[in-house]
């Protein structure tokens, strides 16, 4: 039988169509300067590898080996070191993902508040399983571990960016529709329940969208 080790991350085969053409596989002078700025923040160049990989992922969308090498060369560190880091952390995409990656939290607080119902609703709506991407390349979905927003369970994160709290099926439908039209969800500020009584619930006047505390929807069945 197979071993029980922590998941061994083998790099997925990259679809030739997704390969980044050689002439695109470069950093501009400005981007190089940014990478050097990251490097200057740490006493050793290796410290900047995580920021460097983030930076490359934002530019190229994912981190195939040639992009990892590009980052390593730019920072002047070993390729193996950068490769080891890129394959250790879950937020680095090892293969091309959909334009919008919906990371649905299913960890224990979200689990008991219906996180799996939300994930299954997305599976049905988009016709894909967790880890897959829709044919039009728009959406990928994943069930992920705790995202640190347990008081607003169930919730999800869009492409390592904005959080969407207190999910319902209707809210998911609206989210998918708005993403299809190219509109990302706004930053949402979740205030403390105590703020509601002491200051009307709104702490920030600068947040694009301030969601004061709201009673979450009735918990779905435990999956």
């Amino acid at each position: 039988m197979s071993g029980h080790g922590a998941e061994i991350v083998t790099l997925p085969k990259i679809n030739p169509a997704d390969a980044i053409p050689a002439d695109k596989l470069v950093f501009t002078a400005e981007e190089k300067a940014q990478l050097q700025e990251y490097k200057s923040r740490y006493p050793e160049a290796e410290g900047a590898v995580m920021r460097g990989l983030w930076f490359a992922q934002e530019k190229f969308g994912f981190l195939p080996p040639e992009v990892i090498r590009l980052v390593a060369d730019e920072l002047g560190i070993e390729y193996a070191r950068a490769y080891g880091v890129a394959t250790f952390y879950t937020q680095y995409y090892k293969q091309k993902m959909g334009k919008y990656v919906l990371d649905v939290c299913t960890c224990f607080s979200c689990q008991v508040c219906g996180g799996y119902d939300m994930l299954h609703h997305l599976e049905e709506k988009l016709g894909i399983k967790p880890g897959e991407t829709t044919d039009d390349g728009l959406f990928s979905i994943q069930g992920v571990e705790c995202l640190g927003a347990c008081g607003s369970a169930p919730m999800l994160q869009v492409t390592n960016g904005p959080y969407v709290f207190n999910l319902t099926e209707d809210k998911l439908d609206a989210l998918v529709d708005s993403l299809r039209s190219g509109k990302m969800p706004p930053f949402t500020s979740v205030t403390l329940p105590q703020d509601e009584e002491e200051m009307g619930g709104n702490r920030r006047s600068d947040a694009a969208a301030v969601a004061t505390y709201q009673t979450p929807p009735v918990a779905g069945a435990v999956e």
């Binding site: 937020q91 930053f187 403390l192 979450p216």
Partner: protein
């Protein structure tokens, strides 16, 4: 039933005035924070004649401030482990990895009161002669990292961080480091490995971080909330702080409450709140009027408590230890009577299997076996003997690895089976022996 004597360690909590997250609009802005008296603690430390590095550390020690990241170690004592100043750089790490399931308090501090965190860092840096502080924030908090970087820049521009702070000869830097999704990075030694640009495999201790920390230099690691308490101690005095909440675990506490309550969220109250007050009063009771079944007091690794065990129990480390659990991070998960504890434990075990870094065999293999066996029982294919195997497996994991992740994975299994055994047995096949496998000639 005999009425138990119920006494809270939090004192008159209904009259409590918030200090970590006071009700001030736009407090995250530097100008608003300053108007509220912000950075005055730093000013008095750097420019007044009352303070020197040692007296700051002594004040924090005598305030009774204990680490808010889970281990609840006396913060001032931890600072005192730093070796005498020499020519080497010295580092402080502010742990904002916050990945323990059920924990979501530090994000509120980072968003609503980032300058309090910065000020705490600067005072700690002064006390320990720190060259650079790394704030390690989990990668998922991308929006909050941007937010903090914006505020940090303002503090730099104002001369509160960087060279010659407030015109004195004290200089120190703050760097925000963005993680990329790994629970293990909340463990202090793997956090340092991650900062150095490595796979986050925890280190053996000793040497402890104060002797050999990040980049091989003397290092102290404190949680975000711990450091946010420091300016308050300087401003209002160690005695004031020691007088809040539970005697052995003093100070304000951010309780992050999630699950089946009517008003989940982060609450600031004195430490030592009664669990029943938090659930039935603060959070307005159970959702849908359901009955309480179980509570996890402080993040996924703290042993689960049955509803009948929480009567009269306070949220501080000593009170929780007495009933067989821990305060952890103060991230409390409340579950109602409809919760399937076997399915719940299966999900918890899946989490630890997924997050084991793979360095130590007992954890790498053990977390997988835990998930498989709990899953087997959940699928109705386990037998009673599997429960014993699970408990035995816990013994083989606990204390046998470099870091405490194996322990953190084993405790929920051990205590959930112990405290909800009938539910597990009900899903198991009746026989102890898998008779179907016997080959009788």
């Amino acid at each position: 039933m005999e009425q138990k004597k119920v006494e809270s360690n939090a004192g008159n909590w209904k009259e409590y005035t918030r200090v970590l997250l006071p009700p001030v609009r736009d407090l995250h802005r530097l100008d608003v924070y300053e108007k509220q008296g912000g950075y005055s603690a730093l000013r008095s430390v750097l420019k007044g004649d009352k303070w020197d590095p040692k007296s700051v550390g002594d004040a924090v020690k005598s305030s009774g401030l204990r680490g808010r990241g889970g281990a609840a170690f006396n913060a001032g004592l931890k600072w005192s482990f730093m070796p005498p100043v020499d020519e080497r750089p010295r580092y402080l790490c502010c742990n904002g990895d916050e990945s323990e399931p059920g924990t979501f308090k530090d994000r509120q501090l980072m968003e609503y009161n980032p300058h309090l965190v910065f000020e705490g860092i600067l005072i700690a840096a002064y006390s320990m002669s720190i060259t650079t502080t790394f704030i390690y924030v989990r990668g998922e908090y991308a929006d909050w990292i941007k937010h903090m970087e914006g505020e940090l820049k303002k503090a730099y521009d104002k001369g509160f961080v960087g060279k010659n702070i407030m015109g004195t000869d004290f200089s120190t830097d703050i760097v925000i480091h963005k993680g990329a999704g790994a629970y293990i990075c909340g463990e202090e030694t793997s956090l340092m490995e991650s900062l150095e640009g490595k796979r986050a495999y925890p280190r053996s201790k000793p040497p402890f971080p104060a002797a050999y920390g990040v980049f091989g230099m003397p290092t102290t690691i404190n949680n975000v909330e711990t450091l946010a308490c420091v300016p308050l101690i300087i401003d209002r005095g160690a005695d004031w702080f020691a007088g809040i909440g539970a005697k052995t675990h003093a100070g304000p506490l951010l309780y992050g409450i999630s699950g089946h309550v009517n008003r989940p969220g982060v609450y600031e109250y004195p430490s030592g709140m009664l669990m029943t007050d938090l659930i039935y009063d603060v959070c307005k009771g159970m959702r849908g009027g359901k009955k309480l079944k179980a509570v996890v007091p402080g993040g996924s690794s703290t042993p689960v408590l049955r509803a009948d065990m929480i009567e009269g129990v306070c949220m501080d480390s000593d009170s929780l230890r007495a009933v067989g659990s821990m305060l952890g991070t103060g991230g409390m998960l409340v579950m109602d009577e409809d919760t399937d504890m076997v399915k719940w434990l299966r999900r918890v075990s899946h989490f630890y299997h997924h997050e084991s870094c793979g360095q130590c065999t007992p954890c790498r293999e053990g977390t997988g076996w835990l998930e498989d066996l709990v899953g087997k029982i959940d699928d109705g294919e386990g037998n009673l003997r599997d429960l014993d195997i699970l408990i035995d497996l816990c013994y083989q994991m606990e204390g046998r690895t470099v870091c405490a992740l194996a322990d953190a994975a084993a405790w929920p299994v051990r205590y959930t089976i112990d405290r909800f055994r009938s539910e597990f047995e009900a899903k198991c096949r009746a026989s102890h022996v898998a008779t179907g496998d016997l080959q009788i000639a």
